[in-house]
Amino acid sequence: MQQRSLSCWSTMFATRMKKTKDGRAVVLFCDDRHRFCFYRDLEDTRGIAALCFAGKAVFGALIAAGTLGLMKVSVSVYLLERFLSFLK
């Protein structure tokens, strides 16, 4: 059996990901001989950053609301307990 190393089995295996200097990921599509053909990347990361910030803000707000709610409930329970003991 004889096989050449020049060419890979499918172009699918020639597709690879690289990171640019500014940290962006670029998908490089190559042909079966690993020659570059075209690329696809996420051009603008500001959108993602905004989305992450919004996500974090919502998450933070939920945690804050939850904490506040929990505090309110525990205070109410404490006061109720005190009131009930006072009645006794």
Binding site: M1, Q2, Q3, R4, S7, W9, S10, T11, M12, A14, T15, F29, C30, D31, D32, R33, R35, F36, C37, F38, Y39, R40, D41, L42, E43, D44, G47, I48, A50, L51
Partner: protein, 488 residues
Amino acid sequence: MYHEHPLRILRYSAKNIWLLLFPLLRGIQAFHFDPEGIYAWLRGAWFDILILGVIIMFGLVRWNFSRIDITEDSIVHREGVLLRVRTAIPISSISVAIAEYPLLLIPFRGVRFSCDTRAGLLKSIDMKLLVTRKVAAQLMKCVPEVDRKKKLADIPKADIWSVLLFSVFFSSGFSGAVYIAAFFFKGGDIAQDIITRSLSRLTETTSKLTFGVLQKIPATAIAVGIFFIAAWLLSFIVNLFRYSRFHVESDSKSLNIGCGVINRRVYKITSDHINFTDLRQNLIMKLCGAVTVNINCAGYGADSQHLPVLMPIKRERKLGRSLEPLGVVGGVKLDFRPSPAGIGSYIFWPVAAALAIFPLSDLLSEFFPRWAELSLFAAIMLEIPTVWLVAVKTTATFTSGVSIYDKKLVIRCSHWTAFHTVIADKENVVKVQIYQSFLQKPSRRCTLCVWLCGETVAKYRVRALRLRDAAKIVELLEHDVRHKNEKN
């Protein structure tokens, strides 16, 4: 900077926007032209209208963010609102650029543009856009045009007979059935109603026929037969529309192909990106000396509906040397042929199947006597293609072979019922494999498999070659590799 065609808004809006259109249409139908009617209609349909407006607004925003840039050396497409995905294809990498002019889009001056390179996942097209005619013209201009002065003048013309015969040979009942199924699944309730009604009418007619004329053939068999004939006819008509007005022009660097009546398609192909050519034949074509010239190039014939045709049907003798610049060589004598004594490796399985069909049918009838007639009919229907396959494989024994000359490799072989003559550059060979079955071992015969490069690897197999011939072929191909390595 260009935008896509405004019709794209509908696509971007939502995949199932038509689901909302139906309640709206019903509302419009129920609407009466008087002030109170308008008020009542709005009161009833305000929520639908609001949702529709939001969906279209969303589509409009996405369309606005989909932008096409044609730079000096590449085509860049950006899409997405928050996540901006950029696809940049260098013009030098483009193998095929396609402009499709569907009849439905002609009033809107819409064109489907797509381009493909030798890379990408499997056979997918790398860039697909819906653009206006003006933008499509700009995009198509990027790809090198056929030079009118250097045009190859001797390329044979595809006349109406050539297209007609091609449509006859390459239509099948199965593909017709696939069209009907696609219509059934994609067409919604109306299409399902039409098909169901037609099928029930077909069953009624066939039961009448069975009762009156063809009493010995079961009604189901007649219905299946009529269905497949109708499906074949549909496939034939589709093919005829698809390949009519076939036109090829070429110079040494690029190739223009145009075809189709209802959906006119124009292809611009970079000649250097053609991996190999394949002269395809079936048994009838083989007996008549006719061939279909196909090319293997990324993007051309990538969708399952289109075949990568360069010349629909032509007599092999008439091809001459006119297509030589495109890698098509006619009348090549084979240096290495299969040994006629090895006919067994070609026809063993088809003959075994042909002999086994009727005993199996009898056995089935023994167990299920109620299905006896249908099983006999099925056996006859299966026997016909199997005998055909035996004839094809017998012919293949005497016509297959391999030839190597200059930088070209020619393989003549068969795959199922089709004959292939593959002409490729030696450097496009990815892998060569020789293997022997235990039956081939004593007679020193073998099977040679050759894999050729492309977006997906293509495999061609020649059986019953003498072992020393196969070793010689490998040596000749290997010699070329060594030579290449020395050069590098």
